[in-house]
Structures are given as C-alpha cells and as structure tokens.
C-alpha cells in the first residue's frame, strides 16, 4: 500500500464517516429528536376552551397527572406490566430450561421456531383471537355450558384478567428467547457439582442456575415490562372501560378529548418511567438486549 498525504487521508476518512453515519443521524434528528422536543414543549402548554393551544408555560399538566383518577390508571398500568413480567418469568423460565435440556440441537431449534411462529402473525389478530376465545359465545363458554357446569355464559372478557392473558400471550416470547440464550450458555457441570455436594434440586437452582442465568432474567424482564407498560391494543380490545391503561389514556387525550398538552405530559411521564426501568437494567450490568 502507498502512503498518501496524512491530511488527505483524514479528509477522506471524514467524508466517509459523514456518508455512513450522517444520513441516519440526520433522519433521526428530524424525525425523532425534534418530535421529542415538540412533545416536551407541548407538555408545558395549556389547552384552550376549544381544544386549541394556549402558549402559556406552566406545570399544570404534570400536577394533573397526580390526580387520584390518573394515578390509579398509572398504578394499574404499572401493576399489570409487573404482573405480566412476573407471569412471563414464572412460565417462561422452566419452558426455556426445558428447551435447553433437549439432547438434540435440531429438536431445540425446532421448538424455538414453534415459539416464534404464532409470534410472527399480526399482533391485532392474535389479540382478536383471545376476544373470540373468551367471548360469551366462544369455545370456553360453549364447552362449560354444554357440560352443564354453568347456566349462563361467564363474563371472561373486559376485565384485568383478560388484559393480563392478552399481555402474557403477546410478550411471552420476549421473555423466553433471552432466557434461552442465557441458560444455554451455562456450564451444566456446575449444577452436577452442586448435586455432588449434596445440594437439593431447589438449592442447586437457587444458588447456581438462577444466579448464572440472571442476565437473561433481566433482559427478558425489561423486554416484557417496557412494551406492556405502554400497551394500547391489548387493554383496548380485551379490557373494558374500567381497565384503561396509560396507553389508552394517552390515545383518548389525543384523539377524543383533544387535550394535546395533557396527553403530551402523560407521554413524558410514560417515557420517564421507561427510562428509569432501563437505567436500572443497565445499572444491574445486563448487556444482552
């Protein structure tokens, strides 16, 4: 290779850097950072009597978030997101472990693909399917009625339970895949060593397997918690008027009530909650997203 003049090299390198990194950065500045700035600005403004904007800076929207009505919706969102995360963990951990312990690699891969296939179908359709299953004339009620166990259809839809079923269904794969990746990396002779030292199955799990798979537990939890905190479709289709989550509240502020400043403040609160959760995740040292 020839050695060209250093300054020319530096200029060429700089041009290359700008060509590679520039376009996407520019795009995200315009279509992500500027919109973020607009929402932040709106959250400090006021809604006029006819839904128009009033350019008067104040903190009233954030004060309003603390209203018991909205706090209860925030609380329900946090509760459902946490319950969803825990359920996914309790169901997903033994499931991921089961797949890892399969002897043949082809069986493991096949089972993982089986996890992915329903996950690739449209989210709305998967949620709609639960509306069919839990509905008054759905298979569960039809079965119970024909068995004579109940006289009138059970109201399975439009409650927190239905929303939780939909959330677990939608986000379980996000838990299983990182757990699988983490457990698969574990050296299982360590568990046999624990057994040789007379550890019971539970002790081996608690003191060896679980700590070693912690990166997967944290990654999966964050991947499930964040999107379910801002969930909109699941509570909208499976929950009733009483099971509103923060995503539905934001949507109604924008498209029904037309209180854009308050909707913006709610969005900022949601983003702040998500960022706190993410920071805790990075603090814990998880690196596998």
């Amino acid at each position: 290779m020839t050695t060209p003049i250093p300054s020319a090299v530096r200029r060429r390198e700089r041009v290359l850097l700008a060509t590679l990194v520039g376009p996407a950065t520019f795009y995200l500045l315009i279509f992500f950072l500027v919109p973020l700035g607009i929402v932040l600005t709106y959250s400090f403004l006021k809604r006029g009597a006819y839904g128009q904007l009033v350019w008067e800076f104040n903190l009233l929207n954030y004060v309003r978030v603390a209203d018991p009505l909205y706090l209860s919706i925030l609380g329900r969102s946090a509760f459902l997101a946490l319950a969803n995360t825990l359920l996914c963990l309790v169901i997903g951990y033994p499931f991921a472990y089961y797949i890892v312990r399969q002897e043949r690699a082809s069986v493991r891969n096949f089972l993982l693909v089986l996890v992915m296939v329903p996950f690739w179908t449209n989210f709305l359709i998967r949620t709609y399917a639960w509306r069919v299953i839990l509905g008054n004339d759905g298979p569960i009620n039809t079965l119970l009625l024909s068995l004579g166990l109940i006289d009138t259809p059970l109201q399975l839809l439009f409650n927190d339970g239905a929303v939780l079923v939909g959330l677990v269904y939608g986000y379980l794969p996000f838990m299983i895949l990182p757990l699988y990746a983490a457990i698969e990396r574990i050296d299982f002779s360590l568990i046999e060593a624990a057994h040789d030292l007379y550890a019971s199955g539970w002790q081996a799990f608690r003191t060896v397997l679980l700590p070693l798979s912690m990166p997967g537990v944290i990654a999966g939890s964050i991947l499930v918690f964040i999107p379910s905190l801002g969930a909109f479709v699941t509570p909208d289709l499976l929950g009733g008027a009483k099971t509103v989550m923060i995503g539905n509240l934001i949507q109604s502020q924008f498209l029904t009530v037309r209180d854009w400043p308050f909707g913006s403040a709610l969005s900022m609160v949601l983003m702040a909650l998500v960022l706190v959760a993410t920071l805790i995740y990075f603090r814990k040292g998880g690196k596998t997203l």
Partner: protein, 295 residues
C-alpha cells in the same frame, strides 16, 4: 436361570455405565417441566387454531359449527376495502424497508469502523426509538407532522397526513432495528479479509463490493426482513400518522374488530397466518444459506 454373582455384578456395572442421564427414570421435576412446555405450546397455538377452524365455518356465529364452507374467503376477496388496505400496507412496508435498510446499514458500518466525538450521543439516538413505547413515539410523530403541516402551509405548500407520513414514521423506528441487526453481524467480522483484498490492490469500493458486502449480506437481509415485518405489523404508530384514505391492513382489521365480529376476519387472519409462516420458513432458509456462505 442361574447366574453367578460375578456375572451379575458385571452386568450391573455395565448397566449402570451404559444408562445415560436422559434414560434415567423421569423424575417429578422432569415431568413438570414437560407438562409446562406442553401447556405453553397449547397456549401459543390455541388462538391460532380457533381462528383457522372458524374461518371455514359456514355460519356467522362462533359457537355453532354449521358446516364447512369457503364463503368467508370468497367475501374477503371481493372486499375492495381490504384489497386496498393490503396494497397500502405493501407500499408502506416496501418503501420504509428499502429506505431504513440503506440508512441502517450505512450507520452500522460507520459506527463499527469509526471512533468520533459525539459517538455516545449518536448511539443513544439510535437505541431510543427501540426503547420508547409505541404510543409515545406515535404521539411524538403526530405532533411533529401537525407542526410541519402548519409550517409548510405557511410557506404555501400543501401537506396532509397520508401514506408518505406513515412511511416517514416507519423509517424512524426501522432504522434502529436494521442497525442493531447489521451491527450484530459486523461484531463477528474478520477484518483480515478486507486487508487481504486491499493487499491484492482492491480499492476501497471494490473491497466493500466484493468482500464486505457479501459477508454482511445475511445481516442486511435479516434486518430488512425484520423491518418489513415490523412495518406490516405496526398498528399504533400508523394509527396516529395516517390520514383519511391511507388505511393499512392493521388499521382495517382494527376497525373490523371494533365495529363487530365478522367471520371475514377469521378468513383474513388465516391467510395472514399462512403468509407469515411462509415468511418464517423463507427467512430460516435464507439464514441457513447465509450461515453456509459465512463458512
């Protein structure tokens, strides 16, 4: 039959040695693990099976099976609103995939190759769209397009929400996903191969064209497939950034679900499940091929 003790012992030892771990009598834990796995798979597939089954039901009600029929598929194919929505979805997904794959691949290459001032900032800008919930991103983009509309209208230009704004919005979240996937592929990249090409007098472009690009192609293809799927699947962001006349398939499905259960949705769902399964198999084949390529 009589066997001498020594033979018996020998057999026992042999038996003990030959029996591998998985042939041990299944413990309670093993049974519980297997049961859990079966239940999870049932949970995953029950909704899909119910939709497919009822798409062939002649009757309108979900509770009564009134005979096999393809009438809902027939009705579906003559539903112009759905055909139009599918067309819009494919336009949006196609355009946003092409744009985001190019931009995402470029920035992945740049981030891998260079150290520069403000790199951490660019990194955060790249990861934020993945972390932020859909609904927040949707709201941000809606307000942005409304403001941009005011500005452009003030400058005398016509502007409205439509397919273009949906595409712009989808690119905004897809760039990050493409970049993450291509960077993962670049992480295992052997730079000696590029150096070898340059030792053989390939210029920078030739090196990229004949060495780097073929090696990272599976990553780019994987990123593009993910972008296409995410765009086709997206409801919330599309819902907020679409205008009248720019209904995509998820928006159409949503209004069908909201306005009342029609068996046509079951037929549509079945077709979409089928399409996504074909996509899964195709991507698995591509990945397997990509793996061989890499070797």
């Amino acid at each position: 039959m009589t066997t001498t003790p020594s033979v018996l012992t020998a057999r026992r030892v042999a038996a003990r040695e030959r029996v591998p771990i998985q042939k041990r009598p299944r413990s309670l834990t093993d049974r519980l693990l297997a049961a859990n796995a079966w239940l999870v798979f049932l949970f995953f597939y029950l909704p899909v099976l119910v939709l497919i089954l009822f798409s062939f039901n002649d009757g309108r009600l979900l509770s009564h099976w009134t005979g096999f029929s393809l009438r809902w598929y027939g009705k579906l194919l003559h539903n112009e609103a759905i055909v139009m929505a599918l067309r819009n979805s494919l336009i949006v997904a196609g355009c946003s995939t092409v744009i985001s794959t190019v931009l995402g691949t470029l920035i992945a290459l740049g981030m891998e190759r260079f150290q520069f001032r403000g790199k951490t900032g660019v990194d955060s800008l790249l990861y934020l769209p993945i972390i932020i919930p859909d609904i927040a991103m949707a709201v941000m983009l809606l307000l942005f397009f409304v403001q941009a509309g005011h500005l452009l209208g003030w400058l005398g230009m016509r502007f409205s929400l439509g397919l273009e704004t949906i595409i712009l919005a989808h690119v905004a979240f897809n760039i990050s996903f493409v970049a993450v996937i291509v960077r993962a592929r670049l992480a295992g990249f052997d730079h000696a191969l590029e150096e070898a090409a340059q030792d053989l007098y390939a210029n920078e472009w030739q090196t990229f064209r004949h060495v780097t690009l073929p090696l990272i192609a599976p990553g780019i293809l994987g990123g593009a497939l993910l972008a296409f799927t995410l765009s086709l699947d997206d409801f919330v962001i599309t819902f907020f950034t679409s205008g009248p006349g720019s209904t995509t398939l998820p928006l159409r499905i949503y209004s069908m679900v909201k306005t009342g259960v029609t068996p046509e949705i079951n037929a549509l769902s079945t077709l979409m499940i089928l399409a996504s399964m074909i996509l899964v198999v195709a991507s698995l084949l591509v990945q397997r091929r990509g793996g061989d390529w890499h070797r």
